[in-house]
């Protein structure tokens, strides 16, 4: 099931990147982001209510809700805002490639916050991703 949902996540993220480009170019980043946020909120709230109900939230754990809120603000407000701004400038394929640097940041954060060991494979992986990003960005410069 986990593998299936990982594939579904990849498919949905990809669809989001492509469709956001089609919408945000004409709507602008501000209007595009608020429409995206409203659509995402309504759809996930409906799924949460149908799938799990409100019982799971009681007794109300404010610390957990605060962590969810902080995670949401960073992921959706920051992430989707930057995603819209990026998609309108460079398109979905290049945006997807840039978001490919997520594992690099995840590794750096794990190293800083959890003191996880960084080995030669991780360093080589980070190097390849950085080179990949440079090839895409500098390659475009040379082709213009």
């Amino acid at each position: 099931m986990g593998i299936l949902f990982s594939f579904l996540a990849a498919l949905f993220f990809s669809l989001s990147h492509i469709t956001v480009r089609k919408g945000v170019v004409k709507l602008g980043v501000s209007s595009g982001t608020i429409i995206m946020l409203l659509a995402g909120t309504i759809s996930t709230l409906i799924i949460a209510l149908i799938q799990e109900g409100v019982e799971i939230l009681t007794p109300l754990n404010l610390t957990s809700i605060l962590f969810f809120a902080m995670g949401g603000v960073i992921h959706f407000l920051g992430g989707w805002g930057f995603q819209n701004a990026s998609a309108s400038r460079i398109g979905p394929t290049r945006l997807s490639a840039m978001t490919g640097s997520t594992p690099v940041f995840a590794t750096i954060l794990a190293f800083i916050s959890l003191n996880q060991v960084v080995n030669i494979y991780i360093l080589a992986g980070i190097f390849l991703i950085v080179v990949g990003i440079l090839v895409i960005t500098l390659g475009e410069k040379n082709e213009e």
Partner: protein, 152 residues
């Protein structure tokens, strides 16, 4: 390279930074409320509330009235797909190791490369260059190495 494009690449990397940071907070929240569906819904609702206040303070509400229905539908699709994407990822994380999920989610780059030209209109299609493909292969290769390294 035009400054607009440079900004686009910087914003793309900042997107990745945000997406790498948020799971740390979500994981802490799940210790108290073990529901990835509610984690997504609450996170989205709070983010929407904050942005709605900013949006209205900027007096941009009028802009919404001038929106073309077709573009509105694309943006709604993007919002629902993005919400379902993070929901699927969070559900996957409940049963599968983080490294495997992160790796498989990176397939989005390849899927975008395939679906992009199909969904986008001919005029909007991106130029797929050899350097773009080479960069994507390097990024995917790097992801596989990181996953392997984190599993050791």
């Amino acid at each position: 390279m035009k400054s607009k494009k440079i900004q686009g690449y910087i914003f793309g990397v900042l997107t990745a930074l945000c997406w790498a940071t948020s799971p740390i907070f979500i994981a802490r929240g799940l210790e108290g409320i073990p529901s990835s569906i509610w984690a997504t819904a609450i996170g989205l609702a709070v983010a929407t509330l904050f942005y709605l206040v900013y949006f209205l303070l900027q007096k941009k509400g009028q802009e919404l009235l001038k929106i073309n229905n077709r573009h509105l539908l694309w943006q709604i699709t993007a919002g629902i797909a993005g919400g379902l994407g993070i929901l699927s990822r969070n559900i996957a994380l409940e049963t599968t190791r983080v490294a495997v999920v992160i790796g498989l989610v990176q397939l989005q780059i390849v899927i975008t490369l395939i679906l992009g030209p199909i969904i986008q209109a001919k005029a909007d299609r991106e130029r797929i260059t050899v350097k773009l493909l080479a960069g994507i292969v390097l990024i995917l290769g790097g992801t596989i190495l990181i996953i392997y390294g984190r599993n050791l």
